[in-house]
């Protein structure tokens, strides 16, 4: 169906909701096509192709609200959906702050953020990308002996959002990605290590070569061979771009409106306070052209924008939608994120830490003994207290060099202190996802091993 077709469908459903007693309502319609091919050891392992569509409805009856969704767009199904939603809304309790954003606040312009690429790739081209990525990993080094495969994905879709204020918004987006996951084996011990490298782009033409991704994946797997445990001790810890991004994601969760009003964040009541080292400035920019987290309007139809979250260590803004904002007595920051069929929550757009001046090599070079972290596993983060304890692997730093790979260790601390203990920021910011960070160094953390 076309955008206009969906807009008409949305208008019909909104009208129907009004008849059922809804005082306000909004609707999200999403559809798309996905293609995915996984190649393993040179052969197609799995090929998946589909079209999907989904419609989500949220109604308000006064201050009561409910949310529903369906993939069946037939008239009968949608009539039932509207009736069900209104019945559900009648069953919950009134919530004083619930409701749509004010009519006057809806996005008035919808800029083209260059999120969509109409390139249509045939199946064999996509298989070829995956094959070349994996082959490059095997060719890079004879110690690459096996593979969890290489995967090429392409998807495109459209989102239409409409509400009872008369707002109708729509945009198209696409994604192209390649990931390669080789396995390296150490001939002497038979020990195996896996690692991966990937790339995602809105535009097919912007993808780096399949070969370069495969080679990087191989380099990462091989450098882990021979990893060992280290003794338990406190040392400086350097996070590479990927793992520093995960720290930034933890911070992002802590400044999200929902955790804050529920008092389930370690950054309660800190607006205007110093929450991180003065080296830290963080932006969330929903309007970055071609950005993986960009969108012209948010999940409630409010304009996205560039927000300063942390400026030289001081917390300047939370991430808010209308509801969590009202709970905290603040306006929305345009960060409503919406999965079809759920009420809005809060999410980052393009959330990034402003880079510093030092290269990763200079940062590592400045450390006599320490840990360079390249992967974190597990869920040992308590968002209420900030307590942090995660499995890690990476490299032991000795006299400014990466001396040997390490694994089966944990790093522990508390995020409140870790953010303040960041004492160097790298110059190597690259946007590989919605959350991006350069390399960072934390002055000291507890590393547990032997």
């Amino acid at each position: 169906m076309t955008a206009n077709g969906y807009a008409q469908l949305a208008a019909d459903v909104l009208a129907q909701a009004k008849t059922c007693g809804a005082t306000e309502a909004d609707i999200v319609v999403a559809d798309g096509e996905t293609f995915s091919v996984q190649v393993r050891v040179g052969m197609v392992d799995r090929l998946t192709k589909a079209r999907e569509k989904r419609l989500g409805l949220r109604v308000f009856i006064g201050k009561r609200s409910a949310t529903t969704s369906t993939s069946d767009f037939s008239r009968a199904s949608l009539d039932r959906l509207v009736a069900d939603t209104c019945t559900l809304a009648g069953a919950v309790v009134e919530d004083d702050v619930s409701g749509l954003p004010d009519a006057g606040h809806m996005a008035t312009e919808q800029p083209d953020l260059d999120l969509y690429d109409d390139t249509v790739l045939d199946t064999d081209t996509q298989i070829d990308w995956a094959k070349r990525g994996e082959a490059a990993a095997f060719a890079a080094d004879s110690r690459v002996t096996n593979s969890e495969g290489a995967e090429f994905d392409s998807s495109s879709g459209r989102v239409v959002l409409a509400n009872s204020h008369g707002f109708v918004g729509s945009y198209k987006s696409s994604n192209f990605s390649l990931s390669v996951s080789p396995i390296a084996t150490e001939s002497s011990t038979g020990g195996m290590q896996r690692d991966a490298w990937y790339q995602v782009q809105r535009k097919f033409a912007r993808l780096a070569s399949a070969e370069s991704i495969g080679q990087e994946a191989a380099r990462r797997a091989i450098r882990r061979l021979g990893a060992r445990k280290v003794a338990t001790k406190r040392v400086p810890v350097v996070f590479d771009q990927e793992t520093a991004g995960s720290l930034l994601a933890n911070l992002c969760g802590a400044v999200s409106g929902y955790g804050l009003y529920k008092r389930a964040s370690f950054l309660l009541d800190q607006l205007g306070q110093t929450v991180a080292s003065d080296l830290i400035t963080i932006y969330d920019d929903g309007r970055m052209v071609g950005g993986l987290g960009s969108r012209p309007f948010d999940g409630e139809g409010l304009a996205t924008r560039k927000n300063t979250i942390v400026e030289r260590g001081v917390l300047k803004s939370y991430l808010l939608d209308t509801y969590s904002g009202k709970k905290l007595g603040l306006p929305s920051t345009g960060n409503a994120s919406r999965s079809v069929g759920e009420s809005p929550s809060v999410g980052p757009t393009n959330f990034y830490l402003v880079p510093g001046v030092k290269s990763q090599q200079e940062i590592v070079g400045s450390i006599k003994e320490g840990l360079f972290v390249t992967e974190l596993i597990g869920f040992g983060i308590n968002m209420v207290t900030g307590d942090y304890s995660r499995g890690a692997c990476g490299f032991w730093i000795e006299n400014g060099e990466l001396a040997y790979p390490v694994e089966e260790i944990t790093i522990a601390g508390n995020l409140k202190h870790m953010l303040k203990d960041i004492d160097v920021i790298g110059n190597d910011l690259v946007f590989r996802g919605r959350i991006a960070s350069p390399t960072v160094k934390i002055a000291e953390m507890m590393v547990a091993g032997n």
Binding site: A50, S69, S71, E148, M192, R194, E342, S389
Partner: protein
């Protein structure tokens, strides 16, 4: 036994299903199946003392799959017309070497279900939202009554009602109705500047009445509140290698992460698992016997049949310390020439089948749990855990404690803050020196993620002693 679900529920005739299978099963395609699924999910949730959210979602669709050698072709559609089935069939068979040649697929014949592990009255699965709201209100009141320092209670009740019909190229047509529900409670406790969290929950393939039996929902509320209050006095966790006693029940997540994933057949066929080629070898001490059992009535991880229509079973993974078997789906059982265990599972019609765990647990031993604790001079007693994760290839796994205590001179002393435990899968169970006689299964809260797909699972464990494991705290 429940009545079988007819394909016509999905607006599809048996002939149309057979024609679609016929279209997929070109030369080289060894196996094909159609997975019809309809799912209704409902949730109500409360916070700040009011039930403010209710949601419902319905989805229906078909997944069409063909396998040829190691290759899988897959397509899915949320439309179920004859034309949509044909398009999906054409995509799925793309992986066959040649689109020509043909082997005729038998007309699928409907098979009656052979058992009913979750015989809840289907009519009663429909509970008025008002009753769910009342349940959550009582939970909120109970948690706050437990201690005035409980400042917020977040509770949610989720149900799912899933109808599945599987038609396969080997001529079977089977169905199942899979109810599932879960109650989850999180409490925030505050004492001046000290804020802590505690959680508890449970569920299974059970009826709504289960949650009120003997005040179960109120007990869950008290448990969540107790954990939050307890954590107000927790001290920093120790760092380094030490003996750890794991309590029974949910700490069985250790088995799920440390060995369960590593024994899924796909990783072993591809030789990417740290357990590849260890069948018949010792991977645990001789007090350890571990099974994966999908046949336990009402459990969250149980299924009458897996998502390929194979009846689930009880598979011995480790017997007295020796690795006995892998868990399999049809593709991997065929390629590896090993038994089919009924572990082929998928999140929904939009995802492919993978070998997955059901309920994974260690059988009871003969030690007294008190003796186990008394045997530790200095170590950790871990009672409850958050999530865990494993790197299949190097075998390293983690899981994070949410309620734990120091053991000093054989006595449980202070509560400690959460800490991640890290170990090596093929080694860790060789360090299990004592196994209690108190096997407990978890309350029904587990969700396992693999390859982006989530499926409900169960775990279980008696009290056990692990002689050494690295504890990731902050204190020397």
């Amino acid at each position: 036994m429940p009545e079988p679900v007819q394909l016509t529920t999905f607006g599809v005739t048996e002939i149309e299903a057979q024609q679609a299978l016929d279209r997929v099963k070109v030369r080289d395609v060894e196996y094909a199946d159609l997975y019809f699924e309809s799912r209704t999910s409902e949730s109500v949730s409360m916070e700040e003392g009011i039930v403010k959210r209710a949601a419902k979602s319905v989805s229906q669709g078909v997944g069409v799959r063909a396998t040829a050698g190691e290759k899988t072709g897959f397509a899915y559609s949320d439309e179920l017309t004859k034309r949509d089935l044909e398009i999906a069939a054409d995509t799925a068979r793309y992986i066959a070497n040649s689109p020509k040649g043909h082997s005729t697929v038998p007309v699928p014949t409907q098979q009656r279900p052979t058992r009913d592990l979750y015989p809840i009255e289907r009519a009663k699965a429909e509970v008025a939202t008002a009753e769910r709201v009342a349940l959550l209100n009582e939970i909120d009141a109970e948690a706050r009554r437990y201690d005035p320092r409980i400042k917020n209670v977040m509770a949610s009740f989720n149900t799912e009602y899933k109808v599945v019909v599987v038609a396969t190229s080997d001529g079977t047509l089977v169905s199942d109705i899979q109810p599932l529900s879960r109650l989850q409670i999180t409490c925030i406790a505050e004492d001046r500047d000290n804020r802590q969290v505690g959680s508890f929950g449970g569920g299974g393939r059970v009826a709504f009445a289960y949650y009120r039996e003997d005040g179960r929902h109120l007990r869950y509320a008290r448990e969540a509140a107790r954990e939050a209050i307890l954590n107000l006095s927790a001290v920093d966790a120790p760092a380094g290698v030490m003996p750890v006693v794991l309590a029974g029940g949910w700490p069985g997540i250790l088995l799920h992460e440390a060995i369960g994933h590593g024994l899924e057949a796909d990783f072993n066929r591809k030789k990417t698992s740290a357990f590849s080629s260890l069948i018949g070898k010792r991977v645990a001490s001789d007090v350890c016997t571990i099974v994966d059992d999908g046949t336990l009535p009402f459990r969250r991880g149980s299924l009458n049949m897996d998502d390929e229509g194979t009846p689930t079973g009880c598979t011995t993974l480790i017997e007295k310390g020796i690795l006995r078997g892998y868990i399999t789906d049809k593709l991997n059982a065929r390629l590896m020439g090993i038994p089919l265990t009924g572990n082929g599972r998928r999140e929904n019609y939009q995802s492919v089948v993978l070998p997955r765990m059901t309920n994974t647990f260690m059988l009871a031993g003969d030690s007294d749990p008190q003796d186990i604790i008394r045997s530790v001079k200095k170590g950790l007693y871990a009672v409850s855990f958050g999530g865990g994760q494993v790197d299949i290839t190097n075998g390293k796994f983690v899981f994070s404690a949410s309620e734990a205590y120091l053991i000093e001179d054989g006595q449980i002393t202070k509560p400690v803050k959460g800490a991640t435990l890290i170990g090596n899968g093929p080694e860790i169970l060789t360090k299990v020196s004592m196994v209690g006689h108190d096997l407990k299964l978890d309350n029904g809260i587990g969700t396992c993620g693999k390859d982006g797909q989530s499926v409900p699972v169960g775990v279980g464990l008696p009290t056990i002693k692990v002689d050494e494991i690295t504890v990731g705290g902050t204190q020397r």
